[in-house]
Symmetry: C2
Subunit: 359 residues, 2 copies
DNA sequence: CTGTTAGCGCGTTCAT
DNA sequence: ATGAACGCGCTAACAG
């Protein structure tokens, strides 16, 4: 670790209080009023082409950059959007945010991000902070949030869209997919393969409605097939490979261990694969394993992880379009449910016919 | 895909121009002037404890949230930091940004993100956009950037720190690690294992100084050992598993293919593993493969990918601390070089003694 | 089509 | 310790 040339900063470095060109400077250079400069930049059609050119020339010359804060203060719009996500680990929400941002950047919006690490109180705090920073609208992940959060958004009249879940009956605009249907379909497939004893590796459901819905999908499929989910076969853990592997190890050590284990996302699925690998349990001969999200992490395992492809990127793009439409006063949809698709790989197979250690 | 209840928005939804409580409202409620409200929030010590309490009570009552734009306009500080990264795919820079954000949030800073997708011209544009949005300071990824970018930052007096590279001789503050040393160490290890014919799978080096430095590290190790890197054994590709796998397939089909292939990051390393898997080439018996960054993607492969652990999170935290120090006028370091660590796994082994298809 | 005027909501003088 | 007054840079409203 090298520390080179320590330097004493004489005064705060960040006060960029220099003679930066203002709209008035541009106006003077172009021989017009500052109002015309503003019009050239914000509604160019309402300005004579000739003067418009003169102004743009002055803008280039002075390398004028409008002062966003002043603009926001006056126009009551910041052109900033808040993206509040649980976490940037495992790239899922980062990729959604990336898509959101790409779409928004094209319209000169910027994206302010905040994580809450699955803490609804923290979510509330960061949302308040973003409101203070002036964001015009929000994207949140998940359908369930603190009532106080919605009150805050209402009070400050901030449009928002919930993502990664779709529910037409929700009181709040949402864009996503049917999380329960995803695991329901997986479970149906496994039941058809002869599996009767299921396990579930899930994120803590309390503050994670995606995990909750995905668990519910499994339970519904089982119920419909006259099966039940033994509580001892359910493990909740933080979203990490280590925790998932450890939880799966516990399941594998049970005398009547499941023959099929669903992870509520690919991290749990891959963690489960790792546990099997370490304990010498064959997949899919001895046990079938699935994930959700169809990430490259699961795809590249041996055996490849059967999963459900979720619309990670599409959610971000659609959320951006939803918010832009609202901010520009165009029509918008209250709910958009995007399709998912099962992706079968070698981590799933027929239930083992008989098991030695069964009892 | 379901579209529920289309709704015609009568007017732009986003104009939050409602009677939001202002400092003046709070002042009236507390029976003081707005100046006192400001003082209570910004320098509480300069206010009588009794009145301070009255004001804070009014703040709570009215759920007053200061107007960030007005504050920025007046104080010339937005408490927003721009994080400009190449991409949020593969979680690397997302995790660095996450660490940056976590550290900054604690001091009431928010993080505005932008991606440039390895396009320096785009980087320039998004930086300008962020300046317009008023960010106080920047984190960038990589040491090499357009001269115009630095000119822009200089002109607008925005502090910045370059990351993911460390160079005490750089003209710009930087925090990272020695990219060349990482691959140099890997190459030395492989040379010691008897490898003489090397391959390189790299990101496009033109706008990616990390890839360039990592390639240079390999070349230096080879040069010192009296070896050379055959240009036909070098493949540049976009950072994606597919592209990496395809590039590796080409290398494998060469009659004098390398016995050791370095990927400039784990995506290339894992892509190479996939190619070997598909073509039936045994790793490490027939060929050794390495990556950089020590991601879970590589760690969970079979065989596990030998890699170099890079300070992904530490870079973000250190960058946050660097920028805070500068913005607050404290001392700061021009360069911080963090340690890396080789992580040996089963994807590397001794060079094969003899090869059938050799010629 | 363009200029004039006013004020967005704060923080910061300078008084008292 | 507190208040009055001003202005940051911009755009909305109105006049011409």
């Amino acid at each position: 670790m090298t520390k080179a040339r320590a330097r004493q900063a004489p005064a705060a470095d960040g006060d960029h209080r220099t003679a930066r060109a203002s709209a008035l400077d541009v106006a003077r250079a172009a021989g017009v009023s500052s109002a015309t400069v503003s019009r050239v930049l914000n509604s160019p059609d309402r300005v004579d082409p000739q003067t418009r050119e003169r102004v743009l020339e002055a803008v280039r010359l002075l390398r004028y950059v409008p002062h966003g804060a002043a603009r926001s203060l006056r126009s009551r719009r910041s052109r900033m959007i808040g993206a509040v996500v649980p976490s940037f680990e495992y790239a899922l929400y980062a990729r959604t945010t990336s898509a959101l941002q790409r779409r928004l950047n094209a319209q000169a919006y910027s994206v302010v991000v905040a994580e809450h690490h699955y803490d609804l109180a923290k979510e509330m705090r960061v949302a308040a902070q973003l409101i203070e920073h002036g964001v015009d609208a929000f994207m949140f992940v998940g359908l369930d949030h603190a009532p106080e959060l919605f009150a805050l958004l209402e009070e400050h009249r901030r449009p928002y869209v919930l993502t990664w879940g779709a529910d037409p009956r929700s009181a709040h605009p949402n864009i996503g997919f049917d999380n329960a249907a995803a695991t329901y379909a997986l479970a149906r497939h496994l039941i058809a393969l002869g599996h009767r004893r299921f396990g579930l590796l899930s994120a803590e459901p309390q503050y994670n409605d995606r995990a909750r819905a995905r668990g519910a999908g499994l339970r519904r499929a089982l119920r419909e097939a006259g099966l039940t989910l033994d509580p001892r076969h359910v493990r909740y853990a933080p979203i990490s490979l280590r925790a998932a592997e450890s939880a799966m190890s516990e399941l594998l050590m049970l005398p009547d261990r499941p023959t099929a284990v669903l992870g509520t996302n690919d991290v749990f699925g891959v963690g489960a694969l790792l546990a099997c690998r370490r304990l010498g349990v064959r997949v899919p001969e001895d046990i079938s394993i699935t994930g959700v999200d169809n990430t490259e992490l699961g795809e590249t395992q041996q055996p490849g992880l059967t999963s459900v492809a979720t619309p990670i990127v599409e959610i971000g793009t659609a959320a951006a379009e939803h918010l832009i439409a609202r901010l520009e006063g165009r029509v918008w949809e209250r709910c958009l449910s995007l399709p998912v698709q099962l992706v079968f790989r070698a981590s799933t197979g027929p239930a083992p016919k008989a098991r030695r250690a069964m009892r």
